[in-house]
Amino acid sequence: MSIIYVLLSISVLVAIIFFIAFIISVKRGQYDDTYTPSVRMLFEDELVKEETFHLEKKENKINSNN
């Protein structure tokens, strides 16, 4: 029945790991601004890159035509 010791220590350990993770994230200021990241997440950086990609393609085409 000593398995309960193992289970107990694992459960407490897991809890403590999450607790420490929480403390660290607070300390680094992750909870100071809870709004901006939620907006930043929705920006599609790819959009701009795509345009330049198209341009490059066009240029390539022109170059190959030549």
Binding site: M1, I4, Y5, L8, S11, V12, A15, F19, F22, I23, V26, K27, G29, Y31, D32, D33, Y35, T36, V39, R40, L42, F43, E44, L47, V48, E51, T52
Partner: protein, 808 residues
């Protein structure tokens, strides 16, 4: 109606078509071009018309050439990497975040930039090898995001964010969860074989989890109770601290003596819920600052003139704090004078509205004294400093003791007042029941004594106010009324005297009602007048020009402006004179006709055509919508006073507008206002002050509730307890009424939690309090209080919304 593609404003005079898009001005078009050329067109896809029209900035940031100032602004500086944070009031949507975080596409020297939207700041890491701070600021200004740099920035503050409450809440929540889980088995089985084997380990684990909760998370309750007792107040933290201490001691004894499991679950739960209430109450509007003083208005640097025998006059950007008596300063148009000074050269037209509340700018002659806080409206000035910034007339106001006093400690909250009676009652019940059991069954006496103290721990009472007020704070916030902290609502409900400032508070800043009195002007005269006004920069000319129709603008043959007096112009064979009465009539000021003395106090512009007096335009302040209704409603059960820094030229009009029981007091200097309020308070009144400018700063601070009315909440307002958006000014009475309703909700919640306490006490007094009962009763009472207050405040919040909608 065409709207600008960039800023969304309606295009009035000019419409610029460019790349199939419409812009209202060249500024907006330039920003579009800059963004478009750098492949940042996505800016316009994120939000419709997200832009801000850029302001005129020429010469404004020249002070950034001074390395000493730059050094003060930089947060971090090593050879290649610099970090700077700017406050940008115009940040307002997701497009703003996106473009500011893509600054590196506009300027390669920018390494990273990060926006904090709630605080409206951007933190930029850049390399000074490729750019300077000034160029960076100019770039930001060019795309419409002009940073706000004031004297406040020059004082480097250690940015200290207090996160201790989150840590405490984290610890308590973590322990609460684990203790619950460990104590679960013993809720059901007591005499079971396996449980008996392990119960000791379970119990000691619970003890271990509880120690940090009591000594770290719950620490504030002990210190607060101790402080309360020392100053002879039985605040709500006294019974809470007793409850926590008794819970911990009794539980520890129980597991040592092997009497039972103890109440660790209730203990950690109690502290967790209490802290949750505290956390909930902490709703802050981080982009609004309630603690501002003159420093956030004053510039960080001014232009100092250095005289050198060899090279003549040299201009230098000097820090405001380094300005000494006797220095010569150059003040440009629209710059704020940060010191008391004597005017040496130039036509001064100083707008003191900021300091005194006087709406009209005053003109000064060479040799006159100018006070700090005035804004030059007309051309360039040269002045000599009389007193440096910290000794100036305006900043003296801040040395008044009001500003060093902390207002929060004095106020006795509703919770504190109930806790006094509550604590006395609980202690007497505890002692009486112990006495009873001493006689009947001494073995149970200790048990009953501790049980009473545990179960009577006023967790629910302590939660009622934070959750109600926290909810109210959010309701107010969503209705454009922003409060500094929750306790203000309780204060607001007690107010019996409301004092209004006039200029900027009862009147709007923007609009003037202009009426003409005298002989009607002919078509030609009117055209000439418009053309003359067009040439002038005087604020009165500009507002008058704005209301006249602008057809047939002529070129003037002759135009002369005498500063502070008026202007004369001629076209073809007609001449016109516009300005003060004395100027227009060519009389000395002493010989003025009697009947104009009444008009003297009002703002007027007189006109004569071909040396013939015609009449005058009278400028009157426009009062906000609903002023009469507000005074009517407030006057019913509170005293209403108007306290104005202006002269009494508007007395007649105000008397007609406001109910007869309103007191009107004029010619009040900032310190008079402060004095007046403290006199009212000494007479036992609870005063609410509603003002706007720095001239009300002292009064706002002295009053019990100081509220600032603001046309644009992003623009700064003086230190206060709350900021009211000017558009919802007419709802003021409703908001005060809502605070009364909030207090009623708290009182009902008190009653509800007392009922729970009675049930708990009946278990405790009879000696039947089992841990499982405590563990059910405590969270149940707390949660039901939270649910009750939330539902109740939601209900009154919705009623408020419906009320407002019905009206509009």
């Amino acid at each position: 109606m065409i709207n600008c593609f960039h800023c969304g404003d309606t295009c009035l005079d000019t419409i610029i078509k460019h790349k199939e898009k419409v812009f209202c001005c060249h500024g907006c078009k330039t920003v579009f071009d800059i963004l478009n050329d750098s492949n940042l067109g996505y800016y316009y896809d994120l939000d419709t018309n997200p832009g801000i029209s850029p302001q005129e900035i020429e010469g404004k940031f020249d002070f950034l050439d001074n390395p000493a100032i730059v050094e003060k602004l930089l947060e971090f500086d090593n050879n290649t990497t610099q970090v700077v944070s700017f406050l940008i009031p115009s940040i307002h949507c997701s497009s703003c975040i996106w473009v500011l975080e893509n600054l590196n596409k506009l300027d390669k020297a920018v390494k990273t930039s990060q926006v904090n939207f709630p605080e409206k700041t951007v933190r930029i890491t850049f390399s000074s090898e490729n750019t300077t701070l000034k160029e960076l600021v100019l770039l930001l200004s060019r795309i419409g995001y002009e940073p706000y740099i004031s004297l406040e920035n020059s004082e480097k503050k250690e940015k200290h964010i207090d996160r201790s409450l989150i840590y405490k809440l984290g610890v308590a929540g973590f322990a609460f969860g684990n203790v619950m889980f460990l104590s679960f088995p013993e809720y059901f089985e007591v005499e079971e074989f396996w449980l008996d084997q392990f119960k000791n380990m379970f119990r000691w684990l619970m003890f271990t989890f509880s120690v940090p909760v009591v000594f770290y998370s719950g620490r504030d309750y002990f210190t607060s109770a101790y402080k309360g007792l020392r100053s002879g107040i039985l605040n709500i933290d006294v019974p809470i601290a007793i409850g926590i201490a008794v819970l911990f001691i009794r539980s520890t004894m129980e597991i040592i003596m092997d009497w039972g499991t103890g109440f660790f679950d209730s203990l950690t739960g109690l502290i967790f819920f209490l802290l949750l209430g505290k956390f909930f109450q902490q709703k802050t509007y981080s982009y609004l600052s309630f603690e501002r003083d003159y420093k956030s208005y004053f510039p960080i640097a001014v232009t100092r003139l250095l005289r050198n025998k060899k090279s003549g006059v040299r201009e230098e950007q000097a820090e405001v704090y380094k300005i000494q008596k006797g220095d010569r300063l150059l003040i440009r148009n629209n710059e704020l004078l940060p010191v008391d000074a004597i005017l040496i050269k130039g036509n001064a037209l100083i707008d003191y509205s900021f300091v005194t509340g006087e709406a009209e700018p005053v003109s000064k002659q060479s040799g006159d004294k100018l006070y700090a806080g005035g804004k030059q409206q007309n051309g360039v000035l040269e002045v000599e400093v009389l007193k440096p910034v910290e000794q100036s007339y305006l900043t003296q106001l801040w040395s008044n003791e009001v500003f060093s006093k902390d207002k929060t400690g004095i106020f006795q909250s509703l919770t504190d007042s109930i806790s006094k009676r509550f604590t006395v009652a609980v202690l007497s019940i505890a002692f009486l029941s112990t006495l009873f059991w001493m006689v009947v069954d001494p073995s149970k006496a200790f048990n009953v004594f501790t049980a009473v103290l545990i179960v009577a721990c006023p967790c629910a009472i302590a939660l009622a106010a934070p959750f109600t007020l926290g909810n109210m704070l959010r309701i107010f916030g969503s209705n454009k009324f922003y409060l500094k902290e929750a306790s203000i609502i309780e204060q607001m409900a007690k107010v019996d005297t409301v004092i209004f400032d006039k200029t900027g508070t009862l009147t709007t800043n923007r609009k003037n009602t202009i009426t003409y009195e005298g002989i009607e002007l002919t078509q030609i005269e009117r055209e000439l007048l418009t053309s003359t006004l067009r040439a002038s920069n005087h604020p009165l000319s500009r507002s008058l020009y704005a209301i006249l129709d602008k057809n047939n603008i002529q070129t003037l043959d002759e135009f002369k402006e005498e500063v502070g007096r008026g202007m004369s112009a001629s076209s073809k064979n007609a001449t016109i004179k516009v300005g003060s009465y004395a100027f227009v009539e060519n009389t000395s000021e002493k010989k003025q006709i009697k009947d104009t003395s009444e008009k003297q106090k009002k703002t007027t512009v007189h006109i004569s055509s071909n040396e013939q007096y015609k009449g005058c335009y009278v400028f009157e302040n426009e009062y906000r919508n609903g002023v009469s209704e507000i005074f009517e409603a407030l006057g019913k059960d509170t005293e209403v006073i108007v306290l104005s820094g202006d002269n009494d030229g508007e007395r007649q009009r105000l008397e007609n507008l406001l109910p007869s029981n309103t007191q009107l007091i004029f010619n009040q200097k900032p310190e008079d206002k402060l004095e007046f309020i403290s006199k009212q308070q000494q007479a036992g009144k609870t005063v609410m002050m509603i003002g706007d400018g720095l001239n009300d700063a002292g009064a706002l601070k002295q009053s019990d509730v100081g509220i600032v009315i603001s046309e644009n909440i992003n623009v700064f307002s003086p230190a206060c307890d709350g900021i009211l958006d000017a558009t919802v000014f007419k709802n003021l009475v409703r908001y005060i009424d809502l605070s009364h309703k909030g207090i009623k909700v708290i009182k009902w919640a008190f009653l509800l939690s007392l009922l729970y306490n009675l049930v708990g006490l009946s278990f405790a007094v009879t000696g039947h309090l089992k841990p499982v009962i405590a563990a059910i009763l405590m969270p149940l009472s707390s949660i039901s209080i939270v649910v009750f207050t939330t539902l109740a405040t939601q209900y009154i919040g919705r009623k408020l919304r419906m009320d407002i909608n019905k009206q509009s």
